[in-house]
Structure formats: C-alpha cells, structure tokens
C-alpha cells in the first residue's frame, strides 16, 4: 500500500503514543481533523494500523502470575506445508503472543505467555514440539523486562532542567 507523507506521520506518531486524538494529530501534522480521521480509517482498513494496546508492567502488580518464554523453533517445511502454514498452526494458540520467521540458526521465534513456568513448559511439550513439522525447540524464560517496544520500564531519567532559563 502506498501512503502519503501525512499518513506516514500519523503512523510514526501513533506508534509512540496511540492515545493522541485525531484533533491532536490534526494540529501536529497540519491537516484538518476530518481528513485525519479518514486517513486513520483507511490505514485501519488496510491493516497497516493493526491494533492499539497499552504496555503493562505486570511485575509491579502484587500476586500477579505472569511468565514469558521465548522459544526458538526449528522446522522442516514439508510439501504443501511451508513456514507460513506452520506459523499459522502455532500462532492460533491463544498462549502464543508473537511469532516471527527468522534468519539464522532456527526458523520461528515464538513468544509464549502463561501464568507459571509449569504451564508454559506444558504448552511447549504438549502442543508445540508435537507438531509434525517441528524438529526441535529451545525455551528461554524471561527473568526481567528492562525495555519493550522502545520503552524503558524503570526509567531513572527525570527532568532536571531549571524551570525557567534563557
């Protein structure tokens, strides 16, 4: 899909802060609000703008059970079952939060979320590694999240500027 300069700007802005309204965007890029709304509609319809979410730090929430594992999956594509089909079989599981096709030592990088390590381990052994095309899996559990999608979780940076300066 070809997009224009203004649409490019809308995407760049929303990617950093999806809460900005069409009215804000309209001022920021110098385009009227109705035009901004219809650009957003078009980008949503074409699935360029896929979804709006919040970044949550579950580790701050008491008693919340939340583990994330990143799994390297090696796959042998079979006749009629390419990477895409295998990926689809994997990403349809609701436990799976992301799937990427990778270059390098393994083929699919799969992120799985669960409440406990046991739950994730069970998913890997019972659902993932049993798939016919899957040759091997290597599971890495995340121990701590420092930065995600460009955001630092515990940003120590504060605004140290003097309130008024020349």
């Amino acid at each position: 899909m070809k997009i224009n300069k203004k649409e490019q700007e809308i995407l760049e802005i929303l990617e950093k802060d999806a809460r900005l309204t069409p009215a804000d965007l309209s001022k920021m890029i110098g385009e009227d609000e109705e035009a901004v709304k219809s650009m957003i509609k078009r980008l949503e319809k074409e699935k360029v703008l896929v979804h709006y979410t919040a970044l949550v730090d579950w580790s701050k929430v008491e008693d919340s059970e939340h583990v994330t594992a990143m799994i390297d999956v090696k796959v042998t594509p079979k006749r009629g079952v390419g990477f895409n089909e295998t990926a689809e079989r994997i990403y349809r599981f609701k436990e799976v939060s992301s799937v990427y096709l990778m270059s390098g030592a393994y083929d699919l990088s799969v992120t799985v979320e669960g409440r406990t390590m046991k739950e994730v381990a069970r998913f890997v052994s019972e659902k993932l590694s049993v798939l016919e095309e899957v040759v091997s899996t290597t599971t890495h559990f995340q121990l701590k999240k420092y930065k995600h999608d460009g955001k630092i979780f515990e940003d120590k940076q504060t605004d140290n500027r003097m309130v008024v300066s020349p």
């Binding site: 700007e9 760049e12 802005i13 802060d17 900005l20 804000d24 001022k27 920021m28 890029i29 110098g30 940076q157 605004d159 500027r161 003097m162 309130v163 008024v164 300066s165 020349p166």
Partner: protein, 387 residues
C-alpha cells in the same frame, strides 16, 4: 579594618539583572508548575555521546587539550559545517572549540571591539547579547523587529541603526525568543548593507539544526560573507548537550588568532570529556538530531494551532523551539500576563519584554516539553485567557 566600600566594578554594577531571573525565582518555589519557560531541549544527550565521554574517562583522557580543542574534533566540525551549511573552514587556523556558544559570543565581542565601537543588536534576542557587547567595551545599538514582519530584521531598520562607529552586526537565526528564521533572500539583503558599510557579522547559528520548513542558510555561506563572518554554533540545542558546555566558533585566520589569544589565557581549553562526547555526537548522532527535530516540528505545529484557537495570535516560526504568541488581546503587559498565569494556573512562560525592543506584548513559550505537558499547558492557558 572593616570593609567600607564596594569592590565591584562600576561596569558590572551598572549591568541590569536578567528579567528571566525574576520568573525563575517565582516559579522555583511553586508546586505543580508546567514550564514553557525552559530554554533547552527536554531530550537527554544521545547515549552514544554519553558513552563516548564515559569511555574517554575510563581511558584516562583527563588532561588539557590544545587551546583550540582536539584537532580531531575540529576536523569533524569542519566537515560537519561543510556538509550541512556549505561553508569551508580550515581546522587548524579557523576553528576554536569553546565553552558553549556563550563563550564564543564573549570571545567574538572582546576580539573585535575597541572602546566606543558600536554593535547593532537585533531584538528581541537572547539575553546575553547586550551585556556581552558592553562588557567588551562596546556600545550596543538595538534594533527592534515586529510581528508584522515575522520578527525579521528589516534592511531599512538596519541602515538607520548604522553610524560611522558601527563595527559589527550581531545576528541570530533561527532566533531565541521568536523562532524567526531568516531565509537566503533576507540574508542577502542584509549582506549587501554589511558590505556597503564594511561591517563584520557575528552570526549566532546555535539553532541551525532546528529549522523545520526550509533548510538553514548560514550567513557565512553567502557570496563574499565568509571573510566578514564570525560563525558561532555548538552542541547545546540541536544535539541536546546544554550541560556539557560545548560550542565552537569559526572565522578567518586573523580573527580566529585574535580570539584564540583571549581563549588561551581566559579558558585554556574546553572540557576534555565534553569534547569526546561532541566528537561522537558528530560522528554518529545525526540521526538522533533528525528524530528530535521531527518531534519538535510536530509540537510546534500543535502549539501554534492551539494558541491561535484559544485566541492568542501566534506566528508559525521557522526554527528553534520557541513560539512567541501575542498576548495583546488580553489587555495585560507581558510581565503581568506571565506573572498572573504562573500564579493562577501554574504555567511558566517568559515575558517578551525581557528580550528587548519589540518583545513587549508577547510571551516566549518553549515547546521543548512532552506532548502531554504541552496539552495540559494549553488547557490551562485557555482557562486563563478565556475565564
């Protein structure tokens, strides 16, 4: 024996305190202030530049550098100025690394002024210009600019200010506090007058990287002007490096030698770790500058449109990170406006009057703040103006 007299020099006693100080004191003690009064980026220096400084310390690079600064840094500055602004300087004879653009302004004035020499200063302007001229023994002749003319210096006004004693013109584009940017044609008209009257131009181009609609034109890049220009720039604004205190000045050899004489005695050299950080900023930091510039541009658009919507006339400035809306519709002076806004809505702005002629009736608002802060500031100013 008790002290019975003041030891302070008369010339210093005569200096007026900066009008900015008063608002700093007012705002500093207050809770919940949103400040649009800050003259520096809200971004921190890129990690790669900070890391380069740390590495330089780990390696023990803690001694003085050459008076004019690390040769490697001067060479990088020369190549940067050449690529970005199409002016060519010699790294060994025409560049000095300074302690901010601030020191470069001081050096320039002290190097060119004899007692009584006049410098035309274009206002509203950065608060240090007039004091720097005066401390160097010169006389500042101020010329105002007006909103009707986008706060651009008018050739006629410049001609009127020139006398037989005029030695220099101090020019700043993009400008603090108005954000006004002089384009090539504006500068050419000024250059013609400069040539006719055989003046030298001290060009403060510290905001050169922050030009949003048309690229910055360096005064030194105009035909015949390189030999008549002391070009001042630095890392504070575009590279978000204010606290490092690092700038530079480029000028023909004779002028550079004169400034270096002062610099070697008064300063020796700029801070060594800061020089390593700046070196890295030039080598790998241009994409960071571009990213920041994109953000500033969007915030500028947002705040200009918002001010106009709530009834404060505001021009779309070409550069820097300031807007300079008119507050005349409110009936307040700029000082009253700023003080009441701070007291009633806890938003800090700087009254235009502190920046000299032409500043009254306007306030300076910096948009070097997050969108969230700007949105809240606009809400509060709207409430204040339309109560």
């Amino acid at each position: 024996m008790p002290v019975t007299k003041s030891y302070v020099a008369k010339s210093v006693e005569a200096m007026r305190p900066s009008g900015i100080r008063k608002f700093f004191d007012l705002a500093a003690g207050m809770e919940g202030v949103i400040s649009l009064g800050v003259g520096e980026p809200d971004f921190v220096t890129s990690w790669s530049a900070r890391e380069a400084a740390i590495l330089s310390l780990e390696r023990g690079f803690t001694s003085y550098t050459a008076n004019a600064g690390l040769l490697e840094l001067r060479e990088e500055i020369v190549s940067y100025i050449h690529h970005r602004f199409d002016v060519t300087y010699d790294a060994t004879e025409e560049v000095i690394v300074t302690v901010g653009a601030s020191q470069a302004i001081d050096l320039a004035m002290r190097a060119i002024l004899d007692p009584g020499d006049e410098v035309v200063v274009v206002e509203p302007c950065f608060v240090s210009y007039v004091p720097m001229v005066e401390l160097a023994g010169g006389k500042a002749v101020t010329v105002g600019t007006r909103g009707e003319e986008q706060f651009k210096l008018q050739p006629e006004a410049l001609k009127e200010a020139i006398t037989s004693k005029t030695k220099a013109l101090l020019l700043c584009s993009p400008n603090n506090p108005t954000g006004a940017q002089l384009d090539k044609e504006d500068l050419k008209a000024i250059a013609a007058i400069v040539e006719e009257h055989d003046l030298i131009v001290v060009a403060d181009e510290i905001y050169a990287e922050l030009a949003y609609d048309i690229p910055h034109t360096s005064f030194a890049s105009l035909d015949g002007m390189r030999e008549r220009t002391i070009l001042i720039n630095g890392f504070s604004k575009g590279f978000a490096m204010t606290g490092w205190r690092l700038g530079f000045v480029c000028a023909p050899p004779e002028l550079t030698a004169a400034m270096l004489k002062i610099h070697q005695y008064a300063m020796m050299c700029a801070s060594t770790p800061a020089q390593y950080a700046a070196l890295e900023a030039l080598k790998s930091g241009m994409s960071d500058v571009e990213e920041m510039k994109k953000d500033y541009r969007r915030r500028r658009n947002y705040i200009v449109q918002s001010f106009n919507e709530i009834g404060l006339d505001c021009l779309m400035p070409g550069g820097a990170f300031y807007v300079f809306p008119s507050i005349q519709s409110t009936g307040y002076t700029s000082d009253q406006f700023a003080e009441l806004l701070l007291k009633e809505e806890q938003v800090a702005v700087v009254p235009g009057s502190v920046f000299g002629k032409g500043g009254e009736g306007f306030v300076r608002c910096s948009y070097a703040s997050s969108m969230e802060q700007l949105q809240e500031a606009v809400r509060r100013i709207d409430r204040f103006v339309n109560k």
